[in-house]
């Protein structure tokens, strides 16, 4: 079955690993949810920046922008595209994580896969996140080496 890539505002680039994880003919969609953007304090200036980026992406690759709530729109788009999988860039944003959880319930016929970005630093153990420099002392060695090439 085909794949559907769901892009969101945390990962606006065609080189994100989500595209390598999807099949070469995967459909791609961004769901413009004006209410969610407003609730997340994404003002009009940032919306302009995001949409401008989407326009450039849509000129380089087949992708569509749809209006609505992701968890409502995506099951219908996946069905229309004959998609068995929806692939989405992983994000720490609770709203996106909640939408992914909703989507899994709303589209049980689809596998929903969150794809991690290439890491900035690879840590061998869980860092102490109480202060930056405790994290940095563990991350520094990895962060100062080129990765993901």
């Amino acid at each position: 079955m085909a794949d559907l890539v769901w892009l969101h505002e945390e990962a606006l680039r065609l080189t994100h690993p989500v595209f390598a994880a999807a099949g070469p003919d995967a459909a791609c969609v961004f769901v413009w949810d004006a209410a969610r953007l407003a609730e997340s304090h994404v003002g009009l200036k940032r919306q302009l920046f995001i949409y401008e980026t989407l326009c450039e992406m849509a000129s380089a690759r087949a992708m569509e922008i749809h209006q609505g709530q992701a968890e409502a729109v995506l099951p219908r788009l996946a069905e229309a595209a004959g998609a068995g999988r929806i692939l989405v860039p992983a994000s720490p944003d609770p709203a996106i994580r909640a939408a992914i959880a909703c989507l899994r319930r709303a589209a049980p016929h689809c596998e929903v896969v969150a794809v991690e970005d290439t890491p900035f630093a690879t840590l061998t153990s869980q860092p102490d996140l109480r202060r930056f420099f405790r994290y940095w002392n563990k991350a520094k060695k990895s962060a100062l080496r080129p990765q993901g090439i």
């Binding site: 680039r13 920046f49 989407l54 450039e56 229309a80 080129p146 990765q147």
Partner: protein, 276 residues
């Protein structure tokens, strides 16, 4: 195949516009914003091409020595990184490729690491984005801070000249140099005793690189709810880092024109002397 070909009821939104004004009108219509005409804001260009142009221009060595100055060699990559147009990984790799020795890019990469750090905190503790991580270390209880941003700050009409200039830049361009963000945040929280959440919302509403983790946790760092002491500054510091475009005439910035010791006494009367 266009997804919508078999879904007549779901028509994609347009992705081609004659100019930025037309795109802005489209976005405002989607947002249900029917207020008076809004001028097209002077913000950074969206898209990968603009991001790659900015990435090609980075100078990690110059950044290391001048980044705290408003006219320093800062990269303006933040909106592209925040929205994933560029990955932290590729920005780091580009920085390393631009220097002969990795140590020359260390300060630049350490600043990238702050973003990675904030994202890790966000993932592990999403509740910390809007709640105090720790108590204020200012001698005041959280309940003593105003929950709302005063109107004069939002309008850039505080009467403190440099603060009003920072607000105008933020509102007009969706960008503010990091040092100016720190000054403005500290003024809001410590001089006006407004809770950091109100300021964080104000920044998120205007910044095109606005990120809940980087923004809010940085506000908590300023406020002292995610650091060991409150961050404050004085007019002498603003003059040192901001250059002639920012008004640092003492009589136009009276509340900032003090020594750190005096400011600590004035702002935190129930604490011993402290500043960032």
């Amino acid at each position: 195949m266009p997804i919508c070909r078999v879904m007549n009821e779901m028509i994609p939104l347009p992705s081609r516009f004659t100019d930025r004004a037309a795109l802005l009108a489209h976005i405002r219509a989607l947002a249900g914003d029917s207020a008076a005409d809004m001028p097209v804001p002077d913000i950074a260009a969206g898209g990968r091409r603009a991001a790659e142009t900015a990435l090609a221009a980075i100078d990690p060595r110059a950044y290391a020595v001048s980044r705290n100055h408003l006219d320093g060699a800062v990269t303006r990559l933040s909106p592209y990184i925040r929205h994933g147009v560029l990955s932290l990984d590729e920005v780091r790799n580009a920085a390393l490729a631009s220097v002969g020795d990795a140590r020359q890019a260390e300060k630049f990469i350490q600043e990238l690491a702050w973003r990675d750090y904030w994202q890790r905190v966000y993932l592990a503790h999403p509740e910390r984005i809007w709640a105090d991580v720790e108590s204020y270390k200012t001698g005041f209880d959280a309940s003593e801070y105003d929950p709302d941003l005063p109107a004069d700050i939002a309008a850039g009409e505080t009467g403190v000249a440099c603060i009003d200039q920072f607000v105008a830049t933020l509102v007009d361009t969706g960008y503010l140099h990091n040092h100016a963000r720190m000054y403005l945040a500290a003024y809001i929280v410590h001089w006006r005793r407004v809770c950091w959440q109100a300021g964080a919302r104000f920044f998120l509403d205007h910044l095109i690189d606005g990120d809940p983790a980087s923004n809010n946790l940085s506000w908590q760092w300023i406020a002292s709810t995610f650091s060991n002491k409150p961050y404050i500054f004085n007019l002498e510091n603003v003059a040192k880092y901001c250059g002639p475009d920012i008004n640092t005439i003492p009589r136009h910035n009276l509340v900032l024109d003090q020594s750190y010791e005096r400011l600590s006494d004035l702002l935190f009367p129930y604490m011993g002397g402290t500043h960032g």
